[in-house]
């Protein structure tokens, strides 16, 4: 084996072992992180009587109906009325409740964005927005249900905290971290199952990116579902003798500037990877930090200026240039630019 297990941090050993194989996640426990959210809400509901869950007729799909069954008096289904749900959540938060407003990313970040901005973020009320179907993770549903730009939209709103956890373990931790934080948090979850890649010791702290693989030749900074694919890319590049750092940038905003700059200084070349448009999201955030502090070659992986389409989730990642092989190719390109510079 050409890869070094000791280079990985918080990644389950059985995952590390197979990363470079044909079926990198053959052994992984697969789960959609929307369900990790639902699980975490059950725990939170037990622990904190101020926690309430708001739905907009997708509680079956997000399994927040589990919370509704266990805590019926703290569960509110607004029907298909996302605007009302978001502004009502703000009103609830003024009384000390901690509302988790749950819907799909497209509806949270588009249909109700005015309420999200003016009623929640402007007065900085303690509302958590739980968005499933982020990125093009609801493959077969097609464009209208694919939150391909939600991270960019939420990052543009002042006072926002935007969190996009990579796997079921970190997703649950992110929910608890959001609940503990006083202020609005946008939580981005996947519709499709993603591999469980982390051990329970994953140190999720809002605003602190995590180096999940060491490396010195280049860095891939990824978030949400693309972290797993970044690990695969790194493992394959390791077989070719390249040591690539992988950073799980679960908190897109506030960005962990220190971690990004350390990677810039120590590896000299960066690839960003997000299942999100390449306008205004992770790639932009990292580019901003680089040009303002330490300009080095960088390349973005993400959805280009296009609406995608229906199809199986992984096939879409591949068709739209976001799979491990695209990341590996991008790493080679930024490294070539680094050498030329």
């Amino acid at each position: 084996m050409s890869d070094h297990p000791s280079r990985y941090h918080h990644v389950l050993p059985e995952i590390v072992e197979q990363l470079a194989s044909d079926k990198p996640f053959g052994a992984a426990k697969m789960q959609a992180t929307r369900y990790s959210y639902a699980d975490a809400m059950l725990e939170l509901g037990e622990r904190n009587p101020d926690v309430v869950v708001l739905d907009a007729d997708v509680s079956k799909s997000m399994r927040t109906n589990d919370f509704a069954k266990r805590f019926p008096e703290r569960s509110f289904n607004f029907g298909i009325a996302e605007q009302n749900m978001m502004a009502a959540a703000a009103g609830m938060a003024t009384t000390g409740l901690i509302p988790f407003a749950s819907t799909y990313a497209v509806f949270a970040s588009l249909r109700a964005l005015d309420q999200v901005r003016n009623s929640i973020h402007y007065p900085r009320l303690n509302v958590k927005i739980a968005a499933s179907h982020s990125g093009i993770t609801p493959g077969p549903d097609g464009v209208t249900h694919q939150g391909q730009e939600d991270l960019s939209l939420l990052r543009a709103i002042a006072n926002s905290t935007v969190v996009a956890p990579a796997d079921p373990v970190s997703a649950k931790l992110a929910v608890h971290a959001a609940a503990a934080y006083d202020g609005p948090v946008y939580l981005s979850f996947t519709r499709d199952p993603v591999p469980t890649i982390y051990s329970p010791d994953f140190p999720l702290r809002l605003g602190r990116a995590v180096v999940v693989r060491d490396g010195w030749d280049a860095t891939i900074i990824a978030l949400r579902d693309l972290v797993a694919h970044a690990l695969v890319a790194a493992a394959r590049l390791a077989e070719a003798g390249l040591e690539v750092r992988v950073i799980d940038c679960h908190t897109l905003k506030p960005l962990d500037v220190e971690c990004v700059l350390r990677a810039a200084h120590e590896t000299g070349a960066i690839v960003t990877a997000e299942n999100n448009v390449i306008f205004g999201g992770l790639g932009s955030a990292v580019a901003e930090v680089l040009v303002e502090n330490h300009p080095i070659p960088m390349q973005r992986i993400g959805v280009r200026d296009i609406f995608t389409e229906s199809g199986p989730y992984l096939a879409l990642l591949d068709k739209y240039g976001m799979s491990a092989r695209h990341m590996a190719e991008a790493v080679r390109q930024v490294m070539a630019r680094k050498r030329r510079a």
Partner: protein
């Protein structure tokens, strides 16, 4: 220039009995395609089937060979998740080859999970985010008036969709502009995504609401062709070709009399059954967005075969 005009709309049109048969064919295609895709929304497709059939096979003026014909009537399935019924009707009507149906929701398909007007011939508006199709239909109706055209715009919305505020924005606006070339049909099947509408966010009394928004309201059984056809014909902006005059038109094979109300848009509140036609899907919320497995698909198709015989 364009030679179709009223010829495209079959002068006599299929009989009520023929329409019933066509509806069963469409139901079969719905189940077949959702089964093949192993994803999609059978419940709301089946509740809408009889009305969509009446529209595409008897009411609407269309030319399958020229889906962009400016004088065509428009239909928008604002409850876009139910697009399998739309795709099946368009294919049966000849807008595209039926072989496409098997590609529903697959990569590179012309049949997206929610309907995309730029990918599928005959789709008049891209839909999927609830509450938008009705507003787009309003825009088409405004444009029709401005252009002096006599086409009619039909929009179907869901009862759950009626919870969206934008539906009521459009409801407020249509009478203000006297859009009698616009008809909204509510597929009132009593179920939305999570469960029964009454247990989530009741929308009744729907008729009273639309009346208060100043619409002409017609209530029908959305599965009785004998009620569907005359209700739809009664609100057609232009005279139906087989009609003597604008007032009190009554097709011979239908049992309802309705009167046109010039200058006032009409809403047809259609009482329907979600999953209609497949015994085990009928009125069961779980079939809102679940695909049948092999055995279930077979059972459903067997029921249709029964009905088609």
């Amino acid at each position: 220039m364009h030679q179709v005009s009223s010829a495209a709309r079959t002068e006599i049109g299929p009989s009520i009995e023929e329409l019933k048969g066509t509806a069963q064919v469409i139901r079969r295609d719905i189940i077949t395609m959702i089964h093949a895709a192993q994803a999609g929304h059978p419940g709301g497709s089946l509740s809408a089937t009889d009305i969509v059939t009446a529209l595409y096979f008897r009411i609407m003026r269309l030319d399958p060979a020229d889906p962009h014909w400016p004088d065509r009537d428009r239909f928008i399935l604002s409850k876009g998740h139910a697009c399998p019924v739309w795709y099946a009707a368009l294919a049966e009507r000849g807008f595209f080859d039926k072989t496409h149906l098997a590609t529903l929701r697959k990569l590179d398909s012309i049949l997206q999970g929610h309907a995309d007007m730029k990918k599928t011939p005959g789709i008049d508006m891209t839909v999927g985010s609830l509450g938008q199709g009705i507003c787009a239909g309003l825009g088409m109706a405004l444009a029709g008036k401005l252009h002096g055209k006599d086409y009619h715009v039909f929009v179907m919305i869901g009862d759950g969709e009626s919870q969206e505020g934008s539906v009521w924005e459009a409801a407020l606006a249509a009478p203000r502009w006297k859009l009698d070339n616009l008809t909204v049909i509510v597929d009132n099947n009593g179920i939305q995504n999570d469960t029964f509408t009454d247990d989530i966010m009741p929308v009744e009394p729907l008729a009273e609401k639309w009346r208060a928004f100043r619409w002409n309201v017609i209530e029908i059984d959305g599965h009785k062709m004998e009620e569907i056809v005359p209700a739809l014909e009664s609100c057609l902006y232009r005279d139906p070709p087989d009609s003597a005059g604008a007032e009190g038109h009554q097709p011979e094979d239908c049992d309802t009399t309705v009167t046109r109300r010039p200058g006032i848009p009409t809403v047809i509140i259609a009482k329907t059954v979600k999953g209609r036609g497949v015994s085990f899907m009928e009125n069961v919320p779980a079939w809102h967005g679940a695909a049948p497995n092999d055995a279930q698909a077979q059972a459903a198709l067997a029921e249709f075969a029964e009905g088609l015989r």
